[in-house]
Amino acid sequence: MKRDPLLGRYALISPAAILIFVFMLLPMLLMALMSWLEPGQFGGVKWSSYTPEAYVKFLFDRDLSDVLVFNTDYLSIFSRSFQLALVTTLLTLLVAFPVAFYIALQTPKHRTWLMLLITIPFWTNLLVRTYAWILLLRNGGLIDSSLHGLGIVNSPINLMYTPIAVQIGLVYAFLPFMVLPIYTSLEKLDWRLLEAAYDLYANRWQTMRRIVIPLAAPGMVAGCILVFVPALGTFFIPELLGGAKTLMIGNLIQQQFGVSRNWPFGAALSFALLAVVLIFMLIYALRFRGKGSLT
């Protein structure tokens, strides 16, 4: 009895493949389709009435006489999201690189403990960690009351519900995501390269710039993607820390399935977000092919 040896392997892979295909890939295709439909009266969509309205709505408003007027409201939410996500990525990179470098300089035993300290917040619920910042940032919270106690300020600091609060929340949430991949690429660093650099009269800065940073680059790029993508799509961090004034793409999408009841617009926004992420991935894949991976 001879049979194709591949058959068994296909059979082993297929349950996972089929599940992800049916419940992840198909839904995304459906979402793309729905973004071209007309919204129903109370949520939902009108099947088989196609319109580009959801994409038009992103840039234009219809006034009373049905004339399209350029509207930058949604555009400004998109640009704010990009700005917040970008600043988050840069700040986390700036902090995480020296931290990862420091950890890589320790003895193996020390390293394990330090990494454990970074892993604990990494696996703590993000909602819980965001909530903790409300306790610190709000008026009468820890920061406010200690500044008052020291006599530095006299009026409430009003930090909550500002872009700064959202920015702090984002950096706090995604900092461990940046440290872990950079540490992974520095962990196996050949320190003899640095000694060689010093032997050749390189100073610390030159060694850093010419040796350590290039070798850590794959980890840095992976970290940037691991931070940028979820930061761009986040919705409960601005919801809880930013209030109604600091909306991000995620909030806008969520609203379309809640109060606004415009599913096609929500689908179009999600699709736009997905497209942006896929473009970043493509650049990553083309630029850093084979130089270390995300996972």
């Binding site: 349950p15 839904p27 703590t124 619920n125 306790l135 900092l175 761009l232």
Partner: protein
């Protein structure tokens, strides 16, 4: 190996940064924990130590039901995703074939797509195929996004296995399934355990996707906590958040000591 005592590797400013870094990481969590033991009703002013809020939380039937839902979902999602991920990892090991790239792409999908996009797409899909939102839809969504988390450690472990061991088994007349049960599986077990743990914690922690596909009856713990936070801070939220942190801490510690033993 480097000698950390070598003055070449001394950057004292980095030491200062580390202190600031860990303070930034842990001060909010410590404040949360301290305030959860605060007797005072106004959540941020300390008066006296008490367990009152933990009692309130543990007597709240809604929280208990949400916790129960979370555990049911996480248990089913962990078992199902770990089984499927183990099968897939075993199927992917060995000689390369064409469909492997397609599967690698598929399995990376839940990791790369922003959560909110997955959430929206799943919601629209469930409604379009007429599946009522509830525990079933939550479980399906969780099984799917837990597969990659279970898959990656198992695959990594499998790649590190010595193929000679399997050859030896077949030299000794073991049938393929015997070789799998007696050689591959025991060696794979640490990978399976860490994969299952990753899947479990990912499922327990998920908020965004669950929030979209849960419907009214299937509130999980994170979704319930979100509702509580939205209505304002309260000592009850402090207590339940601390409990959740303690659970994560326990989990990380257990997996840490398992990995130390290997």
């Amino acid at each position: 190996m480097i000698n950390p005592r070598n003055p070449l590797w001394r950057y004292w400013s980095l030491g200062v940064l580390m202190v600031v870094f860990f303070a930034f990481l842990y001060v909010p969590i410590i404040v949360l924990i301290v305030l959860s033991f605060n007797q005072n009703q106004t959540a941020t002013i300390w008066t006296a130590f008490s367990f009152d809020w933990y009692k309130t939380v543990l007597e709240n039937p809604n929280i208990l039901r949400a916790a129960q839902n979370s555990l049911i979902v996480a248990a089913v999602a962990t078992v199902a995703s770990t089984v499927f991920a183990t099968m897939a990892a075993v199927g992917m090991a060995g000689k390369t074939f064409k469909a492997q790239n397609a599967f690698n792409g598929l399995v990376g999908l839940p990791l790369l797509v922003p959560e909110i996009v997955t959430a929206v797409a799943s919601l629209l899909f469930f409604l379009a195929i007429g599946l009522e939102l509830g525990l079933t839809t939550v479980i399906i969504a969780h099984v799917v996004f837990c597969i990659p988390f279970a898959y990656l450690p198992i695959r990594a472990r499998l790649e590190g296995l010595d193929p000679k061991l399997l050859e030896a088994a077949s030299d000794l007349y073991a049938r393929p399934w015997q070789a799998f049960a007696r050689v591959t599986l025991p060696l794979l077990l640490p990978g399976i355990v860490s994969g299952a743990m990753l899947a479990f914690i990912t499922s327990m922690d998920d908020f965004v996707i669950t929030f979209f596909v849960a419907g009214a009856g299937a509130t999980t713990l994170p979704v319930y906590i979100f509702g509580m936070i939205r209505t304002g801070i309260s000592p009850e939220v402090n207590a339940i958040s601390t409990l959740l942190f303690a659970a994560s801490l326990l989990f990380v510690m257990v997996s840490f000591f398992i990995s130390q033993k290997k």
